[in-house]
């Protein structure tokens, strides 16, 4: 760009500062959302790795039981009989620490001598521990190390005894030393850890004779190591497997992938709305300067120079906006990380470490997305500006005439996009990414249809509003006359409102589905479980509690539930749930079942199981007789007949429901996860709950909850999970609001001259203001109305396609009137707010000055 053009353009930006500030804000918000979601997703992933890979970052493989701990003799045999050396035994579980505000941390015990193989050439975290403390750690029971950081936050000193809750036990652990690490990564990992000797961990966690995991270091290039790996594979008994670490992380990560992808899609939607805003303002700036551009062209500026001027101007603003956005994103990301981590803790697995990592990639991604959006949005206006003919530019009607002609073409293209989006959904049977792309296609298509619909709607309004007199007739026509800009404003508002609407419908449907499901699934009157703030804990309800509760006369009968997270090579991660009776027997809603509800339970005593919808979806199990699921039990492989597929919203990983009797014969597991109590007089639920609470008060961490209470807390968890989504919905609304505010305000401010003429021919300030608000109101109303069908269509996709593909479950589509009132309300509020400043100016400006130019 040459200097005079640069000068012109900076002058323009200075003159229209408010407009440009709004533009920068719009870009900044869009970019901030992308950056913050990316930071939140990446930090959550990192937290996951840090929580899992505490001390064995160099290991390549893990030996794990498919659902629980395994015999320690496996380790001894591998070392002594097979001569495998690079093996580290681990005994671990999650515990709660009251002095840390009930935080969940991992208690991990290892053999420090075996662990040495992982610290060949780097500093071990144990280097900060005195030799005396190390001696005590190994030789004395009940001793542990924690990180200096953790100690500080809990106010613990070396030598203190800390109370820790594990299952129904309260453990007293003596902290004999504080770990320090020079490595940032490692000290983060250590922040969620209580480190003990392996013997101590076995004793504290009631795992004497068992190991949770063996870490291995296998060199994939070394033939001897590969031979050993095969040897190990052959040796391991049924139910114990060796897995490559990267695959293991991958399979767990795939659970949260859909969740993170959905967040990403929401952030992209915000930028999508932002693109409209940018397009709006850049094209407006072109129109504002049509006479200057015409003059420039007539004095010899080339088309290329004009094009470059507009693009550079937009990019300059884009860079400023993106920079602010990146900074805002980092700030926003901090809040979002907390929300995302909490959701993952509620839904998937326990993260003992909350990590906040800002990677350069997140920054670059967000920044480039901002610049790219600006570039795309400015392309059309810049091209238009370069096509201006010096002779035509003085007449605005030329442009509007052109735009009016292309309305139909735009509408047609819009229709095509929608059709393409629809086809994509049908064709892409299971792909989540493709269905998200079709959401964008449909939104884009809808926005292209907006101009022609606006024109039609305004014609209708001019008829309907004609009884209001002159202003009623003028206002809709004014909008039609300036469709090239009003349509974009309407379109961007429509897109934003329909996104908000569809997300509201989706959350609402989800919630009502879950509420219904809880009613049918939770039939027992009182529930007893361990107070575990974490989903991954293996601690169960002590078995003797069954006897104790049955001794209460109020208790009619007791059902037990055993829930384990099972990892099988065929079906991945899922929940295996064993029940002594089907708690939902009569109310259970089936997608498909081979026989009547009451017969199914009889069949489950012999060889049949039930699977949840998400289990069926994930493993592509079609309803039908004779479907078989094969599992590795503790007594070898076993085929189970699928007796039915039922609706379940409790586990995204999927549930396999088995009768307790069958489970206990096939698996050597006598633990119980929770109890369901049926009491003789349901009026006495609350009093019996209280009675049990005081009667069982010697078990410190037992949770005894009435049916109502449990449902309430389940819904609370649900709502907490959707805090992230709601927060993003709010942010999209903010972007939309800024977008509409800036474009409509710019639109009205440009009409100074027109207002001057109207004033000169006798219109009062009051009438002008009335006209102005009516116009804006009409634009808002149009957007609100358009967003209803678009929002409904999107919500259908979210509920029936995106949710199914993300989580494997079908929701009941529920719509409530308040969603629509909310949507139209936001649209009206934004458009009317946009009229405030222009209306104020109308009264201030001097008529003579306004029309002097004419």
């Amino acid at each position: 760009m040459n200097y005079p053009l640069l000068h012109l353009t900076t002058g323009y930006i200075r003159k229209h500062l408010l407009q440009n500030i709004l533009l920068i804000l719009g870009i900044a918000f869009g970019v901030a959302l992308i950056v913050s979601v990316d930071i939140a997703n990446q930090s959550a992933s990192r937290s996951f790795v840090l929580s899992k890979e505490i001390l064995s970052s160099k290991s390549t493989h893990h030996i794990l039981g498919s659902y629980s701990d395994f015999d320690e003799r496996i380790y001894q045999n591998l070392r002594l009989k097979f001569g495998v050396r690079n093996l580290v035994p681990i005994v671990e579980d999650y515990v709660n620490v009251p002095v840390l505000g009930g935080r969940t941390v991992k208690l991990l015990g290892t053999d420090f001598f075996a662990d040495l193989i992982f610290y060949d050439n780097r500093q071990s975290p144990l280097s900060s521990i005195s030799e005396h403390a190390l001696t005590e750690l190994i030789a004395m029971p009940g001793t542990a190390l924690i990180s200096a950081q953790l100690a500080q936050s809990a106010g613990i000193d070396a030598g203190d005894v800390v109370e820790v809750n594990y299952g129904s036990k309260t453990l007293n652990i003596k902290i004999i030393g504080l770990l320090n690490s020079k490595s940032d990564e490692l000290s983060k990992s250590l922040g969620g850890l209580i480190l003990t000797d392996i013997s101590t961990a076995q004793e504290l966690l009631d795992k004497v004779g068992f190991l949770s995991q063996i870490d291995l270091l296998i060199d994939g290039e070394n033939p001897q190591d590969i031979e050993k790996l095969n040897l190990i594979r052959d040796y391991l008994p049924s139910g114990v497997e060796i897995k490559e670490k990267s695959l293991l992380l991958g399979s767990a990560k795939s659970l949260t992938r859909s969740f993170e992808l959905n967040l990403l899609a929401l952030s992209l939607l915000a930028l999508f709305v932002g693109v409209f805003l940018i397009y709006n303002i850049v094209s407006f700036s072109v129109i504002q300067r049509r006479s200057i551009i015409g003059t420039l062209r007539s004095i010899g500026a080339t088309r290329k120079q004009i094009f470059k001027m507009i693009i550079s101007e937009a990019l300059a603003i884009g860079i400023v906006g993106s920079l602010i956005g990146v900074l805002g994103g980092v700030f926003l990301g901090r809040g979002l990380v907390g929300l995302v981590t909490r959701s993952i803790n509620d839904l998937y697995f326990t993260l003992t470490v909350t990590n906040f990592t800002v990677s350069p990639e997140s920054i670059i991604k967000g920044f480039l997305a901002g610049i790219f959006a600006v570039g795309i949005a400015a392309l059309v206006p810049a091209y238009e500006a370069s096509r201006f003919r010096p002779i035509n530019v003085l007449r605005r009607s030329t442009l509007e005439g052109l735009f009016a002609k292309s309305l139909k073409l735009l509408g047609f293209i819009g229709f095509l996009f929608i059709a393409l989006g629809y086809v994509l959904i049908i064709v892409s049977t299971k792909s989540l990414v493709l269905s998200l792309i079709s959401v964008f296609l449909i939104l884009l298509g809808a926005s292209l249809l907006v101009p022609i619909c606006t024109a039609l709607l305004m014609r209708l309004f001019s008829l309907v509003l004609s009884p209001l007199g002159l202003i009623g007739r003028i206002s809709p026509r004014n909008i039609i006359r300036s469709t090239s800009r009003t349509a974009v404003a309407v379109a961007s508002l429509t897109v934003a409102i329909s996104v908000i609407l569809s997300v509201s419908i989706m959350i609402g449907s989800f919630r009502s589905t879950v509420v219904n499901w809880l009613d049918s699934a939770l039939t027992a009157d009182i529930f007893i479980s361990m107070d575990s703030a974490n989903i991954s804990s293996q601690a169960g309800v002590p078995n003797e509690i069954i006897e104790q509760v049955t001794s209460y006369p109020q208790v009619e009968r007791v059902a037990t539930v055993r829930r384990i997270l099972y990892d099988s090579p065929e079906y991945g991660l899922f929940n295996l749930v064993a029940v002594t009776e089907d708690l939902a027997v009569e109310n259970r809603e089936f997608i498909w079942s081979e026989s009547q509800n009451n017969i199914i339970w009889d069949k489950m005593q012999s060889n049949s199981i039930l699977i949840s919808e998400s289990f069926a979806y994930k493993n592509a199990i079609e309803p039908g007789d004779g479907t078989v699921v094969t599992l590795q039990t503790d007594h070898g492989a076993k085929d189970f007949e699928v007796a039915g597929i039922y609706y379940d919203y409790g586990s995204q990983a999927g549930v396999l429901l088995i009768s307790d009797e069958l489970y206990r014969t096939l698996w050597d597991d006598d633990k119980i996860t929770s109890l369901g109590l049926y009491i003789s007089n349901t009026k006495n639920i609350e009093t019996t709950t209280e009675l049990l609470r005081s009667g069982l008060s010697n078990y410190s961490n037992l949770m005894i909850r009435s049916n109502d209470n449990l449902k309430r807390s389940a819904i609370k968890t649900f709502d907490r999970t959707f805090t992230v989504t709601s927060a993003l919905r709010l942010l999209i609304a903010i972007v939309a609001f800024i977008s509409v505010l800036s474009s409509l305000m710019a639109l009205q401010l440009e009409r100074e001259k027109e207002f001057g003429i109207l004033r000169a021919v006798g219109m009062t300030v009051g009438q002008l203001r009335k006209m102005l608000f009516l116009e804006n109101g009409l634009i808002g109303l149009a957007s609100g109305l358009f967003s209803i069908p678009v929002g409904l269509a999107l919500s259908f996709i979210l509920v029936y396609v995106i949710n199914l593909r993300s989580f494997g479950w079908t929701l009941n589509f529920t719509v409530e009137p308040q969603y629509f009132i909310e949507a139209v309300g936001i649209a009206l509020a934004a458009s009317i707010a946009a009229g405030l400043y222009p209306a104020y100016l109308v009264g201030k400006e001097d008529v003579g000055k306004l029309i002097r130019e004419e």
Binding site: E72, Y75, Q76, R79, L80, G83, R85, D111, F112, F113, A114, L116, Y119, D120, N121, R122, Q123, S124, L126, S127, I129, E131, L134, T135, I138, A139, M140, P141, D197, I198, S199, T200, Q202, E203, V208, G209
Partner: protein, 373 residues
């Protein structure tokens, strides 16, 4: 031989191994470690404070009431073609606490085991060294009296009928040897009580097998060598600490071709000089033992060797004189580079012996030498 070694080695190896394996490639830390050793808590452990009755073979087994203990085998072997090898296989036991606490977990222990394995291939000029460490629990490592065995993973010394079987393998090298003692156990010091300083109890129980017929296999890079030769065993257990003024030691075990053996060690003092508690013994052809005091022998260094790995300068040729017995020997390493680059770095290697009317083989151990610059 190994009191010097053990005193220097055990705590450092324990701490350093856990803290950072191979981190300290030089032994600059030694001074500090010696200080920390001096303050080591030995309360509750049995002390070697009076002569005792040694019972064989029971005393080959562990003595867990003492803090430290070791089984120290070295030997010179050769195959049919006269190709020479030296080997060292040593097991150490260290108690973390004198109390035996009853615990549920099989992993619970207060006994730690370490082992060093080295092999010298004189022909190729190669020296291999490796180490193992483990808790003495869960079957991973331990020592027992009946039948005698001590092991870490697959490294072991076991009684096999009347013989002892030694097995160790690391990477491309391994040994599998059968050992038959040719002489009765030699009680070192005062009937097996080996005083290390003037403080009572600062001593060890110490016996040796000075001439052990050895045969078996050495494997190197897939090649097997049928070997035979002589080995030497030192058994020692104690609860004692090293004097602050001791810098290191030089230890010699010599098997003369005429059927006699000589054991000598000298404790080097900080700033030069030899500790008066340095001592040794001369074992006659029939197993008769003559104790040697510090003033009875003299060790002169004739040459030195600088390690390219650690820049440590070690003596590499000696003249040993025992005037009372009319013995004068020249001792030369079979290979200069027999430095063990393990958690604790020291020099221990096979040597040959010559002199006026004498010839033989042996092992020398050098510790406490500091790297130069």
């Amino acid at each position: 031989m190994c009191i010097r070694l053990i005193l220097f080695i055990l705590l450092p190896i324990f701490t350093m191994a856990i803290v950072s394996c191979n981190e300290n490639k030089n032994s600059q830390e030694t001074g500090n470690v010696v200080q920390s050793l001096s303050g080591n808590d030995t309360t509750g452990f049995a002390r070697a404070d009076a002569p005792r009755n040694f019972v064989f073979p029971d005393d080959f087994g562990p003595h867990p009431q003492f803090q430290t203990e070791w089984w120290y085998y070295t030997g010179n072997l050769s195959d049919e073609d006269g190709r020479e090898f030296g080997y060292q296989l040593t097991f150490f036991r260290r108690a973390l606490s004198p109390d035996k606490i009853e615990r549920e977990s099989k992993w619970a222990t207060s006994q730690i085991y370490f082992a060093h394995f080295a092999l010298t291939d004189v022909k190729e000029g190669e020296f291999y060294s490796s180490e193992r460490w483990s808790r003495g629990a869960a079957g991973l490592a331990g020592a027992q009296t009946k039948p005698f065995q001590v092991w870490i993973d697959s490294w072991s010394i076991k009684v096999d009928d009347k013989s002892f079987r030694l097995r160790a393998q690391d990477g491309p090298v391994s040994i599998d040897l059968l050992l038959n003692p040719l002489k009765a156990e030699v009680l070192q010091g005062d009937k097996g009580l080996s005083q290390k300083s003037k403080d009572p109890g600062n001593a060890s129980y110490y016996f040796s097998q000075t001439r052990i017929e050895s045969s078996g296999s050495i494997f190197m890079h897939g090649e097997e060598f049928e070997v035979s030769g002589l080995s030497w065993l030192d058994r020692e257990w104690s609860t004692s600490a090293l004097g602050e003024d001791q810098e290191g030691w030089d230890w010699f075990s010599i098997q003369l071709d005429d059927g006699q053996e000589i054991m000598l060690y000298q404790l080097r003092l900080n700033g030069g000089g030899i500790d008066p508690f340095s001592s040794g013994s001369l074992v006659g052809v029939k197993g008769d033992v003559t104790p040697l005091k510090a003033e009875d022998f003299k060790i002169e260094v004739l040459d030195t060797w600088k390690s390219p790995e650690t820049n440590t300068v070690y003596p590499s040729k000696w003249q040993i004189s025992i005037p009372k017995h009319d013995i004068k020997l020249i001792v030369t390493p079979l290979l200069n580079n027999q430095e063990l680059l393990l958690s604790f770095i020291y020099w221990e290697g096979a040597v040959k012996v010559s002199g006026s009317g004498f010839s033989g083989k042996g092992y020398v151990e050098l510790t406490g030498y500091k790297p130069q610059n």
